[in-house]
């Protein structure tokens, strides 16, 4: 009996979306067709669309963007200039505007190559300011501060949207569709990749995700969505001017996203409604209302940490139910391990200098297929640096890394993962915003994996990996709620789900208690039994002695011993490195 996908919460919501569309069309027909309420609803709807764009880039991918109003404006100007100056129809003009927004969004995403956090925020702010300046001053193209008026509403297949009800319906339906797509994105492969980048960029890279490309795509998608909102806004209000798309508006959009809860398009809907309505409700306070608005923003931030949506969700959260059903076991389990002399991972003369500090000073190492190879050494000997260079997080100063015959010395981390190298981290790097299952799915769906293109098979493979480490029952739990040791197992499962050739474990026993260490040892032996090649770094000599076939010892970035366990552990240099030179006892 195969697993029911619905229980794995990968459903698509198509029927719900259709029903929602019908519902909002009905809503639009009974809503006011003109005047104040129409304006408010149109503003809320179009802004909500733009804000769901922020959900993608900020909520899912964790990149701060304070330029959403610029993209909103580009979409709006696309429609306005296209219809007024180039005689295009509404939808072709909209396509131009949205396309331009998307292109610029991708370019802005390129700025994320070396920057994150505050820096990226500043890049987006600069972009926003420059856009506003162009809109105001490039009068020949944008009509400058006068703005563009008499923007027509569209006609499609004989159906005119001139009427307020009709256009509102168009806005609402667009909102439903955008919300649905953004929501679906979250539970899809790209969405998981984005969330992985948000939660732990380094780990995302070593799980096969092209981090940079993911960020760029996030920016692009967010800009496109923003452009759509702006295009509809232009058609709705039929007059646009540069001061509607300024930095201040970007801040408003950002605030809407955060107040509602940036993780969810429903949250952004709530946030948008609130912040569109709030100034209007407070109008009766006349002069004081903006001050009250500012205070309200602070209060909401303080008392509603997950945004309003998070607040509502708290009440509604379902209990995590275990997923029943059998799945095909991990492919590796059908193999039987035989140690061979084939060298899987070869490292030659690897050096890594940080300024004057030589963390690695010419290390050679060869890991044979099917063996458990341990790398040990006192603190500061370069073990973690070694594994970081091998997995691509640092570029080596000199030397080579050859994996499965491929020279991967300069390759990006995700390339190495796709070549078959998986790793875990000393300071556990799971994706805290996702469930256990989703974490392992990220591993399973890495490009190049045999089942990566098949969503159902991805779920099954992830469950198989969880079966192997014994955590199937925790599949739906938020990974952060698990114990330290179990989170480590999730990391291992995530690595295994990617069908690696070699597993690199960085201090897997750190933080585990005696029982857990014993279980870990068992796990490693089982893996070895199925032919998995393992490179393990650890301090726990018991564990190392139990599982290792081969040990390499580092000290001060250099290799001081390499060979069979009993030889290496008796080696005088090794003992000296750990325990120091023997003292001359007083007679």
């Amino acid at each position: 009996m195969s697993v029911n996908l619905a229980s794995a919460r990968v459903w698509r919501g198509t029927p719900q979306a259709i029903v929602a569309c019908a519902a909002v069309i009905g809503l639009a027909l009974i809503a006011p067709g003109e005047g104040y309420y129409l304006n408010i609803l149109m503003q809320a709807a179009t802004y909500a669309i733009a804000v769901s764009g922020l959900v993608i880039v900020l909520g899912y991918c964790g990149q701060i963007s304070i330029a959403q109003a610029a993209f909103f404006g580009i979409g709006a100007y696309g429609v306005a200039i296209g219809t007024a100056d180039f005689g295009l129809g509404f939808f072709p003009a909209m396509l131009c505007g949205v396309g331009a927004a998307g292109l610029l969004g991708l370019i802005l995403g390129l700025g994320s190559l070396r920057l994150g956090g505050h820096y990226l925020a500043m890049v987006t702010i600069s972009f926003q300011q420059i856009m506003t300046l162009f809109a105001t001053n490039w009068i020949s193209f944008t009509h400058g501060p006068d703005g563009i008026r008499n923007i027509p509403r569209p006609t499609l297949w004989g159906l005119s949207f001139q009427n307020g009800h009709a256009f509102l319906a168009l806005c609402f339906v667009s909102l439903v569709l955008v919300t649905w797509m953004v929501w679906r994105l979250k539970t899809g492969r790209l969405g998981r990749a984005m969330q992985a980048v948000r939660d732990n960029e380094l780990a995302a890279g070593t799980c096969g995700i092209n981090v940079f490309a993911t960020k760029v795509i996030a920016f692009g998608m967010s800009a496109v969505v923003g452009g759509v909102g702006g295009a509809l806004f232009a058609g709705g209000f039929q007059y646009i001017s540069p001061d509607q798309f300024t930095f201040a508006e970007s801040i408003v959009l950002l605030t809407m996203a955060l107040l509602g809860g940036a993780q969810s398009p429903f949250g952004s809907l709530v946030g948008t409604m609130l912040l569109v309505m709030l100034p209007e409700w407070l109008r009766f306070l006349k002069q004081v209302y903006l001050a009250v608005y500012g205070a309200a923003v602070i209060l909401i931030m303080v008392f509603l940490p997950d945004g309003l949506w998070g607040l509502m969700l708290d009440r509604v959260i379902r209990r995590a139910k275990p997923i029943v059903g059998t799945v095909a076991p991990l492919p590796l389990l059908s193999e039987h391990g035989v140690e061979s002399d084939e060298i899987v991972l070869k490292v030659e003369g690897l050096a890594k200098h940080f300024g004057g500090v030589k963390a690695l000073d010419g290390v050679d190492l060869a890991v044979r297929r099917g063996s458990v190879h341990a790398l040990i050494g006192p603190n500061g000997s370069g073990k973690s640096t070694f594994i970081n260079v091998v997995t691509g997080l640092y570029k080596p100063t000199s030397g080579r890394v050859i994996f499965m015959g491929q020279d991967l010395t300069q390759a990006a981390p995700y390339v190495r993962n796709r070549a078959g190298l998986a790793r875990t981290y000393q300071n556990i790097r799971v994706f805290r915003g996702m469930t256990v299952l989703e974490n392992v799915m990220v591993g399973a769906e890495r490009p190049g994996n045999d089942i990566a293109e098949n969503p159902a098979a991805v779920v099954e493979r992830a469950l198989a990996a969880l079966d192997f480490v014994g955590l199937r029952g925790d599949a739906h739990k938020q990974v952060g709620t698990l114990s330290y040791g179990h989170q480590r197992y999730v990391e291992i499962a995530r690595g295994l789900a990617a069908s690696p050739q070699t597993l690199l474990l960085d201090e897997p026993a750190a933080g585990l208690n005696m029982t857990e260490k014993h279980e870990l040892g068992e796990l490693l032996r089982r893996l070895k039994g199925h032919g998995m090649t393992i490179l393990i770094i650890d301090h726990d000599m018991n564990l190392v002695e139990q599982v290792a076939d081969h040990i390499t010892v580092l000290n001060f970035g250099r290799r001081i011993a390499d060979g069979l366990p009993n030889e290496v552990l008796a080696h005088p240099d090794v003992i000296a490195a750990y325990l120091g030179e023997p003292r001359n006892e007083a007679a």
Binding site: N39, N137, P145, D146, G147, R149, Y239, L304
Partner: protein, 378 residues
């Protein structure tokens, strides 16, 4: 008291359910108006309220409109276009306003124009963008002379009266400044003059040194300007004098505003402004000035006078037409000939423009001194 989550949620739900509250409809004639209560032009909003109060007192003292008192209902436009649109539509949603007043900022009038057209009720405004009355919208009426006239007056006064031929034009790059600049260039062209420098700047600058240096380098013998914000005017004026430029300067009305003169102090002494309102241009203007100063302890300027005139004209039109029906009001406004307001004598043309001339005034050591009035037939 700790706000629990439940309370917060309940509060939000209650707030969402609160309908818009409208004032009980007393039996008054209501004119709806948007004004900048907040935002960068908040001071203008204050002055507008003063002007409205004075108009309402004058109108209601004489028996009001059709026997009822007139009232001005105001909504904040936050000095932004979206704010104007929302504020205006909120006024319309009340359903009890017979006519409206909008903004002195042309960009905001542009923003609400589509709604005005749909609304089909008279809307008075003070923005000077000439195209506002030439866009085919029969419901917009302007109670200030538009910028095609201000430009002609600046050009005429500077070139003909002062006899200066080397012109520099400094203008804001916003709608107002750009249109003013274009009109001025056109007017000078008709007099056979081409400016030696046209220098734009973006609003809300912190420093005008580059502009001043450019002006200085062009070695003009007269400066013409269209400044939107008084802050910018003040900084520019100070730096202009610091860097030693003393040529005559004829500016758009902001140069004569109470605020500009306060901010710039002595650095604006000796400059000329075209002012749609000046207290010495007519007995009506003088009367307004004296009353305003008495009540509010500050000099009035065009931020309040256009609205005063607008409300007075609306009252007159409704009383003339003996009706509050939109078409009737419209016809009555267009029929107004020779009405003496504070800004001048109104004769409305079929586009909705009531005034076609400006006063030229001089800043005489901090006092505004009336120089002459220049009118154009069309």
């Amino acid at each position: 008291m700790l706000i629990t989550r439940r309370t917060a949620l309940l509060g939000t739900a209650l707030a969402a359910a609160t309908p818009l509250r409208f004032a009980h409809a007393e039996d008054t004639i209501k004119i709806g108006g948007i004004a900048p209560i907040t935002g960068p032009a908040a001071e203008a909003g204050k002055f507008m309220q003063y002007g409205a109060n004075m108009a309402l007192d004058a109108i209601n003292a004489k028996g009001g409109v059709l026997g009822k008192k007139m009232e001005w209902v105001v909504e904040d436009d936050a000095t932004t276009n979206p704010g104007a649109v929302l504020g205006f539509s909120r006024l319309v949603a009340r359903g009890d306003c017979v006519a409206y007043t909008s903004s002195i900022r042309s960009t905001q009038v542009n923003a609400v124009a589509p709604d005005v057209l749909k609304l089909a009720r008279p809307v008075m405004f003070g923005g000077t963008d000439p195209s506002l009355t030439h866009a085919g919208n029969p419901w917009l009426f302007r109670t200030r002379p538009n910028d095609s006239f201000s430009a002609r007056v600046i050009a005429d006064f500077g070139a003909t009266t002062l006899g200066k031929k080397k012109w520099v034009i400094v203008h804001s790059t916003d709608a107002f400044g750009s249109n003013g600049m274009k009109a001025l260039v056109e007017s000078l062209d008709k007099l056979g003059i081409k400016p030696v420098l046209v220098q734009g700047y973006t609003n809300q600058q912190t420093d005008f040194t580059p502009v001043v240096l450019a002006v200085k380098e062009a070695q003009p013998d007269v400066i013409g300007s269209y400044f939107t914000f008084e802050n910018d005017l003040g900084i520019f004026a100070r730096q202009l004098r610091q860097l030693g430029v003393t040529v005559p300067w004829v500016g758009s009305p902001s140069i004569i505003n109470t605020t500009s003169m306060k901010l710039a102090g002595p650095t604006l002494w000796g400059t000329y402004g075209v002012a749609d309102y000046n207290q010495d241009s007519s007995p009506e203007a003088r009367a307004y000035f004296d009353e305003y100063v008495k009540r509010y302890k500050v000099n009035p300027d065009n931020q309040s006078t256009w609205l005063y005139d607008a409300l007075m004209i609306l009252a007159k039109a409704m009383n003339d037409a003996k009706s509050t029906e939109p078409q009737a009001i419209r016809a009555a406004i267009l029929a107004i000939k020779g009405y003496k307001g504070t800004e001048g004598t109104y004769t409305f043309d079929e586009n909705g423009d009531g005034l076609r001339g400006y006063n030229v005034v001089r800043n005489e050591k901090g006092q505004v001194v009336f120089d002459k009035h220049i009118d154009f037939a069309s």
